[in-house]
Symmetry: C2
Subunit: 452 residues, 2 copies
């Protein structure tokens, strides 16, 4: 029977590690740690408070350090590397693939990185500098350089004998690359095509001679989008001249897809993408304070708008009670639109060609939302406060704010993107400021005109 | 030179399709449509308003319908299928892999599905029913059944000759499966291992005889998490007895990973996961109204809390002006914690073992946030309104609400998960209700006690 890997089994092992750790059964923890995959050890470290994390790391055999570091998220990895002796880090980096090496090194704080580079011997340092030579977030940065290349005029039989001599292929190899004598990529040949072809045909007769290649400078987000769209498992990477320089495999792209999708969610709540859930209290408090500070300013701004109507508020306390309803509804409606547009831009649905159509659509939704919720709130208030005029005032403010919400929610991310500002990062706070200010102004302003 | 697929090229083609369409150059549109990959046509359809989408679909050759349907998101796909003649749909479904067939059919509204099933011949219907026989969101549902199986005692040479006879392997095949005569999975053999082994060794000598297999009933989210953690490209699927029933390839898992990561973001804004950005206004308005309705109730609840302090508010209009600051800060701080915990649960970092630690940590952050922002707001208000006592009152309320925000943000998703409620869906609205009510109550309550 196959070993059916059940996630509850892994969970069971992880819990039993936690239990053994609290019980002080370190020998058992050590044994269990070396029984599970590097990805599982990484999960365990990421799920542990910093102190436990340090203890676990110390128990891990140095031979596994590299494998586990590769699998860790940035924040957690940097925390661990920061506490290691540089020479140990150098040992751990030795067996890493180029892409993992580049990612690990380039995310480190400058002083730590320099310490590590200084500890390396000349050859390792050269390799490290080469890995980091491509701009972060480009195809060159995430590619591996371990490609297997063939010449077009050899036969399938020769290729198979050549591969047998190699004894092992690089991890996740599914395609071989055909190059000319200047290393230009002229074709690709999948292992499955190779295996199903007759031994005496030439590579050029069975290769795909219009290979789709990525260029080294392509942004990783575009790379990910293409892998998703074309269901690739791997793709060759060429330089500006068309020379083969590496390959990207989908397991690295999966990380980008997850990070990219999580980025918007985390940013919209004012968190950093890879914020370590189990970071120390001080670090977390500091990181989150930026966002709270921005919010305090906008909350004071909204209060300043109310302050303009102090006279009205002091005479009609009921306005103070109802003052939060219209801004709140506008905030929710605007955030719905904003989220939809930000996600649409991230997956490439929203383009210059259809942006105007989308703004008009969201404006129309804002208009209909305005009608629906204006009628509803007017009825509720008229019944609750027995004041029809007050109902009309709040209905009018709701109408105005819902339209403002739709307009702001749709245009903000489009404008911000044009200005090269990440809409996920600041869009939500600007939007809420707009819906708060417009909502309060419309409600208290109309009330001052008609109820005073 | 290889054809370096540049995303801007694809974008250019897509824009030129849009332009030709508006210019009425239908022949050109038709030609361009058939020059690009199915994934690109899908992107174009998803980026178009419903009317344009319908026109484009009509221009597409029926032969491509199946390929494009596979790549579309649920909402858009259902919209298109709903308008097609059932017999056309049946034709389009004919060449689909089992996993795509299962997904396409099971997401259709019941009446459309029944129409389509009724149009199928007996054999197709059997295939469709088999594909849908596994629970949605399970490994069985997303697997393909086109595995290539071997027996352990044959030699590499025999395997290669067998593959040559087949002439073509199923898409994305990277591993062959070794089964015994009862179809039980006993090993796996990667194509790269096969190619690098000597022709006269037996499969059993080079296969991985401890294959890690998924079971048909495993949840797709767990499947995705394992692919991510172990960097798999494909994995075999077995039934409860260990019999091989199919395989899952990473290109299908990529979709799950993206949907899973987007799910939290969309849900937190009160949107459906695959909401079509370009859906008609009426449909969008209707879908978003649920969330706005819930928010109206909570906004009225907050107003009712303020209403309890009408007397205080009517005497001190300044309280009405400042009444929104404390709830707003609590809402932001609470949502930061909530988002972090929801994401932590989604990626498997937050477990029973560390939940308590996490709640304590967020409570501590709430406490420190409370101190920081209490001091700040007290200073601002004391300066602005020249009233030290008012500064102390708002500081105290801020302190209370920040602690409540940390506590609610951390415990809510953990409790909701235990109750099998999706925290992304309702967590944010419950949290905001708590921080609004606590914030208003603490501020106006303290003010009533000390300022009246």
């Amino acid at each position: 029977m196959p070993e059916t890997t059940d996630i509850s089994n892994t969970q069971a092992t992880l819990s039993s590690i936690s239990e053994s750790l609290s019980a002080g059964a370190f020998v058992r923890v050590r044994k269990l740690l070396h029984d599970i995959a590097a990805g599982d050890v990484a999960l365990l470290l990421e799920s542990s408070p910093t102190k436990t994390r340090d203890i676990l790391w110390q128990m891990l055999d140095a031979d596994f350090h590299g494998d586990v570091l590769e699998e860790l998220s940035e924040d957690v990895r940097n925390g661990i590397i920061g506490k290691m002796i540089p020479s140990r880090v150098v040992d751990a980096l030795e067996d890493m693939d180029t892409d993992d090496l580049a990612e690990t090194l380039s995310s480190l704080p400058e002083n730590v990185l320099n310490n590590i580079l200084a500890t390396m011997d000349a050859q390792d340092r050269l390799r490290a500098e080469k890995a980091m030579s491509y701009g972060e977030d480009t195809a060159g940065f995430i590619m591996n350089t371990d490609t297997i290349t063939l010449r077009r005029e050899v036969t399938v039989d020769v290729v198979i004998r050549y591969l047998r001599l190699k004894a092992e292929l690089p991890e996740n190899t599914d395609t071989l690359y055909v190059v000319n004598r200047h290393d230009f990529l002229i074709g690709t040949l999948s292992l499955s095509r190779l295996l199903t072809s007759s031994p005496d045909v030439n590579v050029e007769d069975i290769m795909d001679d219009e290979p789709e290649a990525l260029t080294v400078n392509m942004e990783e987000r575009e790379v990910a989008s293409m892998f998703e769209r074309y269901d690739w498992l791997s793709a060759p990477v060429v330089d500006e001249d068309g020379k083969l320089v590496g390959r990207i495999t989908i397991d690295d792209v999966v990380d980008i897809i997850r990070e990219d999708a999580e980025h918007s969610m985390m940013s919209m709540a004012g968190l950093e993408d890879e914020e370590d859930t189990f970071a120390p209290v001080g670090q977390s408090t500091k990181r989150r304070s930026v966002w709270l500070g921005v919010n305090l300013v906008t909350a004071l701004l909204a209060a300043a708008v109310s302050d303009m109507f102090e006279e009205t508020l002091s005479q009609l306390a009921v306005l103070a009670i109802l003052n939060t309803i219209v801004p709140s509804m506008g905030g929710v409606a605007g955030n719905q639109t904003l989220t939809l547009v930000i996600r649409g831009m991230a997956v490439g649905h929203v383009t210059d060609a259809n942006a105007l159509w989308l703004v008009r659509k969201e404006l129309a939704i804002g208009f209909f939302n305005g009608i629906i919720w204006a009628v509803l709130i007017a009825s509720v208030i008229a019944l609750w406060k027995q004041d029809y005029m007050l109902g009309c005032v709040i209905a009018f403010a709701m109408m105005i704010n819902m339209i403002a919400a739709g307009l702001a929610g749709a245009t903000l991310p489009i404008i911000m993107k044009k200005m090269k500002i990440d809409p996920a990062l600041a869009g939500s706070v600007i939007l809420t400021t707009i819906t708060d200010v417009v909502g309060i102004f419309a409600f208290l302003g109309t009330a001052t005109l008609f109820l005073m």
